[in-house]
Subunit: 317 residues, 2 copies
């Protein structure tokens, strides 16, 4: 593997000139520059990122800190990772996946944190010395990337209303985190806007629990009903419930989910859901973080993605 010195020798210039051609080409005369380019091409030169990292006091490693039990959201994270990976590779960074349990001393240039709960801000996030981007909205002033959760829930609620249903139940996850509060707010405001009574139900994010809850409700009900769920997992549970009771989807029961990652397509019928552009969001997390690192930790602000309503057969024919 050719080094800077090899390139320099072949082009009959000093190492420094080669280094400059790479980093500050405008400082080198066109003739030498061309010589160096030729030499680089001939030797198939690729910079040694480890050596660069050493001089720059960098590690070229960023960590993805997943504070949530991973099991509960797997397909979601794989997409996030895919997005992050694309951006990191382009900029010669690599990744370490860490969880709450692995409290290694943090040899890295920056972190993307996700799945944080209220307590984590003080005990973990505020103590980090490196630049951080959070994946998930927060009100503590940290840079973050998220989808517009409130709007997402608004458009689904409006969608089922537009299908002519006014008996609309909300199924959410029983945690008091900003993303869930926003989803609840999106539902609640839309209902109140139409003078309808919000009916909010919070539970563990499990398809079986949602199924159990929905069966109880459906057994007692005769009119048309819609369940707007704060996750596809809950949505799938409700689909199962309706099917077990032999109720027609979407004629008797309408169901919507949230996330649009994988599970929505597994359901039968496929689930109407709010798709988050997770891969894109992963890319953005990485991009913001690397920029932040380059800019010595300067805040990069927040980035909120527009949610997209994907209409499928749990709400329309």
């Amino acid at each position: 593997m050719a080094t800077l010195s090899d390139v320099a020798r072949r082009a009959m210039v000093s190492k420094m000139t080669v280094s400059r051609v790479i980093n500050h080409p405008e400082q080198v005369s066109p003739e030498l520059r061309q010589l160096v380019y030729n030499s680089m091409k001939a030797l198939n030169y690729v910079p040694n990122y480890v050596a660069q990292a050493l001089v720059h006091h960098r590690t070229q490693v960023i960590k993805l800190l997943i504070l949530e039990e991973m099991d509960t959201t797997e397909p979601y994270y794989m997409n996030l990772l895919a997005g992050i990976a694309v951006e990191l590779d382009q900029r010669h960074y690599s990744l370490q996946l860490v969880t709450r349990s692995s409290h290694t001393i943090c040899r890295c240039d920056g972190l993307i944190v996700t799945g944080m709960r209220e307590d984590d801000y003080e005990s973990i996030i505020s103590r980090l010395e490196q630049p951080v981007i959070l994946f998930g909205e927060n009100m503590k002033g940290y840079d973050y990337v998220d989808v517009d959760n409130k709007k997402g829930m608004k458009i689904t609620t409006e969608h089922v209303m537009a299908q002519g249903c006014s008996n609309i139940l909300f199924y959410g996850i029983d945690i008091e985190e900003p993303f869930m509060l926003s989803r609840i707010a999106g539902y609640e405001e839309t209902m109140k806007g139409k003078k309808l009574l919000p009916q909010i139900n919070l539970m563990k994010n499990s398809s079986h629990i949602a199924q159990f809850e929905a069966e109880k409700v459906l057994k007692k009900i005769s009119e048309r009903v819609a369940f707007v769920c704060a996750s596809d997992r809950l949505g799938i549970g409700v689909v199962h419930a309706a099917q077990r009771l032999g109720m027609a989807i979407p004629d008797q029961v309408m169901i919507t989910g949230f996330d649009g990652v994988f599970l929505d397509r597994i359901a039968q019928p496929k689930l109407t859901t709010v798709r988050q552009p997770i891969v894109e969001m992963g890319k953005t997390c990485a991009k913001l973080l690397l920029d932040k690192i380059d800019q010595d930790g300067r805040s990069q602000g927040i980035c909120v993605y527009k949610p997209e309503l994907v209409i499928r057969n749990t709400t329309v024919h």
Copy 2:
């Protein structure tokens, strides 16, 4: 962040002595060793892995090359990654996720490759210069980690037989890769062993296609039937088919899947499946690869995991 020199100065020894305490402690007298340990502790010394990497001509990066369309197997890979990550973190390695499209020149110490198809061996894998561990059985002599696919299919087939069913259909994926051939063989041998007629059906790995196929079959059938599927995704499709036709699971229709990652638990009823210990397997991939790197590329052989039959309500009450 304290460096070797800082530790050395505080302990009043040379840098080299500190380095030796870390790498070859037996070469240092007990007194100095203790001095150095004290100094390290006092300064909270952590080696700079970048500098180590530079002297050792390493990158401390390994790549996970996913040759398969990721979308089709997401939850699966997240588990694999989790396993890999644990091992890498412990040994101060980091990760790059790459796919077929990203053909970066391979600045890394080794690769874990997965989702490879027949063509890939010649065009990609054989050209890699770094140590490689494959995730998935192969007959080309590469080191690999996999579950015993044949045995997995054997035990499921035997399990449904033990439930008193002898009309057993196999639903597999229409690719001629070793893992699938092994699963087919496991089914076929077990059937022939009992003098039963194997019925093999291959299709795209999609729950909706499996549902479509199974509905066709189920409409024409009256006796009890079992579907042993080569993936949970196919299994879920068959569950949906049985439910749409109002057939009783497991009394009229028995269904089994394969993988035991995430999807099996989403199904309703939960799917009897063959669980692969994916996290464990990921760990092993990483461990073998890092050992291989340390041993200058020496073959590490293969590692085949015992599959575990998880019996649930698609085969028994």
